[in-house]
Amino acid sequence: MSTETASQPVTAVANPPTVPLAAGFDARDLVRISATTQQPTPERQLTPVAKLIDVSKCIGCKACQTACVEWNDTIPEIEENVGVYENPHDLTPDMFTLMRFTEYENEETNNLEWLIRKDGCMHCEDPGCLKACPAPGAIVQYSNGIVDFIHENCIGCGYCISGCPFDIPRLSQRDHTVYKCTLCSDRVAVGQGPACAKACPTQAIVFGTKDDMKAHAEERIADLKSRGYDNAGLYDPAGVGGTHVMYVLHHADKPSLYEGLPDDPVIAGTVEAWKGPTKTIGLAAIALAAVGSIVHNVMTRPNAVSVNDERQAGDIVDAAAPPDSTPPRRDQA
């Protein structure tokens, strides 16, 4: 068996290597680890990768969902048909990606547009889930940009769900850990592109280095603009430092048209405050109170009862006692 390591895939369509290869990246390539004060500084920097989803080329076939289920070996629950195209109704712990369908009446062109967006983890450069996570090593980020959940470290608190600006992670009530798209980290590590991109029949989903994907997006945007989509553009939101899953949108000026894709996603100020100053100032205040108590105890005499206090108490109690009473003693009480 070859001990050669797999190189990072630059496309999802290439056939897999025919010889077994060792993983091309692993824990040594981590750049962020959740709930860890000392972040790692890896020796090498992997080429950032990205998945590009061209919404204008999507036909809504859900091959990506099927491929995702198949590769990740999840079994989404069978649901009722309630008359909408989304199936299942939402992302679930067993469905990491979901086609979301919007019927948009474009008032400028008087056209009905069917907007289909493949929803799932955006693999933020600055991941809100990772920031919110209290469990060391439950959420990690590799230097190629992939954000991954390490299930054996997950405690199931759901903080990541609150931290995510895109509402992506889902808590499993079966094993009480949280699931989301891994960007097929286990495939990418051995030189293969994500399963969804591999399965996409129109190549609406493509995969490669982030630079390649941006260049490809430029071509697509130019093409869309030549067809009258003046606002076509790339969705790589700067508010989260850019993402490693990007969209080509025909209406890039209005991302929220696409079933609520955030117009300007950022990690919420409340989450930043909770995981930033509250943590440091809070712990400092607690330490200060503890030290302050010790200092006070050293600097002052204990507030102790004197013999005089006891005598005066006796006087008050005796003076007010009923005249014919014998004083009760401790042993009688």
């Binding site: 209290p134 759901g158 405050a273 809070g282 002052t300 206090d309 004083p327």
Partner: protein, 230 residues
């Protein structure tokens, strides 16, 4: 003749006059409930701190790991709310703010130095104790109100994600504050000698009552009976 109680509550009484005066302050069930509440609060703050700061995550080992800590913490919280509610209902009346408390507050330096001769006579509780009481009431209400919506296992949908973020932030700030109040409570009881026995044996000495809660002592002195039939 029976005077109304203003500074004391049923159960508070002079139990001995010799060799020193001894005053009953807390009944057995109140003491038991206090210690149940105390244990719950300590377990809550240890498990909560473990999930609050990465450097304290190791504390989860005390509870059998992160998953168990995450599961246990909210149940402890519910138990604390029950035990604390019983305690709070027993104590609220004598913790209402009175005129002498304002004078007491103006002489906080005397409080810090333990120079109680410079302080007004107070009833069963001084303003410091009342501050701890009302802080605990307010913070525990805040903690349970914010704790339920962030209890994701059972209440994933009671609030929107945006509201839940506010709840998480508020819960952590309230938790820090209650730890500060807890430290103040424990330290004050330790520094003011003769206090802790009120919650262990249930009684304090007359001198302690004279020094710290003279109005309470005077009222109890005036209520001494020979005959239980009044």
């Amino acid at each position: 003749m029976s005077k109304d109680r203003v500074y004391s509550e049923p159960g508070d009484r002079i139990v001995a006059r010799q060799p020193v005066v001894e005053v009953h302050r807390y009944r057995g069930l109140t003491r038991l409930n206090h210690w149940i509440t105390a244990i719950l609060l300590i377990l809550l703050l240890v498990s909560g701190l473990a999930l609050f700061h990465p450097s304290l995550y190791g504390l989860t080992a005390l509870f059998g790991g992160g998953q168990t800590t995450r599961w246990l913490h909210p149940f402890l919280g519910v138990a604390l709310v029950i035990s604390f509610t019983i305690l709070a209902l027993q104590l609220w009346k004598l913790n209402l703010i009175r005129r002498e408390d304002i004078t007491w507050a103006k002489n906080l330096d005397a409080v810090m130095k333990g120079e109680e001769e410079r302080l007004p006579e107070v009833g069963k509780y001084n303003l410091g104790q009342k501050f701890i009481y009302w802080s605990m009431v307010f913070l525990i209400l805040l903690l349970i109100a914010t704790g339920i919506p962030i209890w994701y296992q059972y209440f994933p949908d009671v609030v929107t994600t945006e509201t839940r973020r506010v709840m998480l932030l508020t819960h952590s700030i309230a938790a820090v504050l209650i730890i500060l109040v807890f430290i103040l409570h424990v330290y004050a009881a330790f520094w003011t000698k003769g206090t802790i026995r009120a919650m262990t044996r249930g009684t304090v000495t007359g001198g302690w009552a004279f020094r710290h809660h003279r109005k309470w002592l005077r009222e109890l002195a005036g209520r001494q009976r020979v005959d239980p039939a009044e």
